[in-house]
């Protein structure tokens, strides 16, 4: 379970470039739930994900994960509990190393390592089995450098690596945004299957309304560093893309609603 309580972050404070990226954000993710975060550019959705991952220090607030207060933990320490998939398929893997070697590195993530054979026969068979489940034919290419794979194949493998140890929390940062539509659909499908099968708790940032409607159990909408809408339960079940677009539209209209509009409408509702 993830508990985010009253977190705030301002970048470049007291400068002309000051950005209030997170403003008193509260969010609790129940165990084994899948939540999508959507929002316009600069709404704070990726900053929220990075706050959980420990990319920067918070100005205020607390983050608890699986019973531990991880607010002060550095990024590498949080990695024991958190799996991450980034937007760039080339992030999170070592291009020159083989598929098997990359996967084995992920298997031992957060554990003490020693000088011994990394890819043992039994481990190799286990890797081949899991890679086969991707249905991409990669089980026959375990010795190929991962850098030779397409973006979609590499992102599917990254997803597998990030979830191998069944992390307490899986963070997906627009992980299909840099892929072609067909690969994006495949990776989205894999994401849903893996999260469901492994009963993971996941937080996904996405720009894709379709993914936000199709994949998760819950949709959180952010704007200007705040959560402005939370679709869950019955609300989430009935929500469709036009509803999300209309909510964005409503937010924008609300911003345009100034005192002159108020004066106008006082006249029309006299």
């Amino acid at each position: 379970m993830l508990e985010i309580t009253h977190i705030s972050k301002t970048f470049f404070p007291n400068t002309p470039n000051e950005v209030n990226a997170l403003r008193n954000v509260n969010l609790t993710l129940e165990k084994e739930t899948f939540t999508a975060v959507i929002g316009t550019n600069g709404s704070g959705k990726s900053t929220l994900l990075n706050a959980v991952a420990g990319t920067f220090e918070l100005d205020a607030g607390q983050i608890r994960l699986a019973g531990s207060n991880i607010t002060g933990w550095p990024e590498y320490k949080r990695a024991k509990l958190i799996g991450r998939v980034f937007q760039n398929p080339f992030a999170g893997t070592a291009a020159e190393m083989s598929i098997a070697e990359n996967v084995v590195l992920a298997i031992h993530r957060g554990q003490r390592r020693s000088l011994r054979t990394a890819v043992t026969r039994s481990l190799r068979e286990e890797v081949a089995d899991r890679v086969r489940s991707l249905k991409m034919g990669l089980e026959d290419r375990l010795d190929n450098p991962i850098g030779t794979l397409s973006g979609g194949q590499r992102q599917a493998l990254t997803l597998l690596m990030a979830t191998w140890r069944k992390p307490e929390l899986l963070l997906l940062d627009e992980h299909t945004a840099a892929l072609d539509p067909k690969s994006a659909a495949k990776v989205a499908e894999l994401t849903r299957d893996i999260i469901k099968q492994d009963k993971l708790t996941a937080l996904m940032v996405t720009h894709s309304m379709q993914q936000a409607v199709d994949l998760p159990d819950r949709i959180v909408m952010m704007h200007k560093g705040q959560i402005i809408r939370d679709f869950q339960g019955n609300d989430k079940r009935r929500v469709r893309i036009p509803d999300l677009l209309s909510t964005f539209d409503r937010v924008q209209k609300k911003e345009l609603f100034d005192e002159s509009v108020a004066e106008l409408l006082y006249g029309a509702y006299a």
């Binding site: 909510t247 509009v261 108020a262 029309a268």
Partner: protein, 403 residues
């Protein structure tokens, strides 16, 4: 594909050159349906230079054919090439093909629609009875005695703020803008993301609205005014439409139902029910943002709207729930618009009840707006406007106000 067009009498000639296939079918549909929207309901597709027709092409021809058949239009494919003729004949659409033009077509191209307005006097010479219920005024707490039940029967036209249903259990949360016309009710649920809902009178069922504000008209419509774009005039503001109909009939106060294609609507709606007010309140800025939604732009272009309301040449009168219609307009009005996805509106003299029936039995309504004239200097959006449509109206001959 190249598409050229010219008007010949009542017909629009659409010359198509090239392939009508999957690659071009959407472009072809958009272009031709634009002509249909402008009121060209008799189409002749000149296929003498159409070199290929695929099933995707036949599909869009069928779509266009069905759209204009609904409004009693005519559709022909003229002088088709051998391949197109064979394709249409063998797939069962040979009836569309002609090799000689209908006899009523002029030999030369003519200028397209020349008249902006066309007025029809209907049989009824009776006026309408207007009943105004304005028990609730913003932003007073709603009392039980403020609520009036209005049964939305066939000969009744009503607009205001109300809640559907007859039970009293949840009504305090539900008051939103509505309009009711000939047994059809469209209602905007007062919530930020809510969709508009509708009720249709069927057999013994008569929709009932519990209203805290309502302008209700009973009686028949005495006039029909059609308005259509020309090259010189592409759209009509509500002030222009109302000004023309009132001037032509010398009316000072009228009830109207207007159905037309939207150029842009400017309006507002409640997003929180007045029933939620715990006491008489003064809701100032910025709290007002939690109560009202403003369109913020000229919205719903290319959609269809059913607009219902009361217009008056008399001075603006809050008691009668009338507000300025347009900039420098001599008219006051209270108008609500129900927005629908586009449906083709038949030309000429059409029946109000049949046309309303077509709209309400088609795709669901998208929104209900209380139309406002945004007269703010420089940044104002102006007033709502329509491209083409039909307006039924009648003088208000009797009037009563219930405060």
């Amino acid at each position: 594909m190249q598409i050229h067009h010219k008007t010949r009498g009542d017909y629009l000639f659409v010359e198509t050159e090239g392939r009508l296939d999957a690659n071009w079918s959407e472009h072809f549909t958009d272009t031709v349906m634009n002509f249909v929207r402008e009121g060209h309901h008799h189409l002749i597709i000149d296929a003498s230079k159409m070199v290929f027709l695929s099933s995707a092409g036949i599909r869009v021809l069928l779509l266009i054919f069905k759209s204009i058949k609904k409004v009693e239009g005519r559709f022909f494919i003229y002088n088709a090439t051998e391949f197109v003729t064979l394709t249409l004949t063998t797939s069962g659409f040979g009836d569309w093909l002609i090799t000689a033009l209908p006899g009523d077509i002029p030999g030369q191209a003519t200028s397209s629609m020349q008249k902006n307005y066309e007025h029809f006097s209907l049989e009824s010479d009776k006026g309408q009875c207007l009943s105004i219920h304005n028990a609730w005024r913003p932003w007073k707490q709603v009392k039980r005695s403020d609520i009036k039940n209005i049964k939305c029967v066939d000969n009744l036209f009503s607009l205001g703020i109300g809640s559907p249903g007859m039970d009293n259990t949840d009504r305090g949360k539900q008051f939103g803008e509505f309009l009711a016309a000939a047994g059809h009710v469209v209602y905007q649920h007062p919530a930020e993301e809510s969709r508009s809902d509708y009720l249709i009178a069927e057999q013994a069922f008569i929709p009932t609205m519990q209203c805290i504000q309502a302008l209700t008209l009973e009686g028949e419509m005495a006039n029909l005014m059609r308005f259509s774009p020309t090259d010189e005039k592409r759209f009509f503001t509500l002030s222009q439409i109302v000004g023309t109909m009132m001037a032509e009939t010398q009316m000072t106060k009228a009830g109207l139902v207007l159905i037309g294609e939207v150029e842009g609507l400017v309006g507002a709606s409640l997003i929180k029910s007045p029933g939620a007010l715990k006491a008489d309140s003064i809701i100032s800025y910025p709290q007002i943002k939690e109560w009202l939604n403003f369109s913020g732009e000229r919205a719903y272009a290319r959609h269809q709207a059913v607009i219902l309301g009361v217009v008056s040449r008399e001075p603006v009168n809050d008691e009668q729930l009338l507000f300025p219609l347009g900039p420098d307009s001599e008219y006051a009005a209270h108008l609500h618009a129900a927005v629908f996805p586009h449906q083709v509106l038949q030309n000429g003299r059409i029946d109000l009840f049949e046309t309303l029936g077509q709209f309400f039995n088609g795709p669901s309504p998208l929104a209900v707006l209380h139309l406002v004239n945004d007269s703010r200097p420089v940044i104002g959006l102006g007033e709502s406007a329509l491209v083409r449509g039909a307006c039924w109206f009648a003088p208000v001959s009797d009037e009563e106000v219930h405060a």
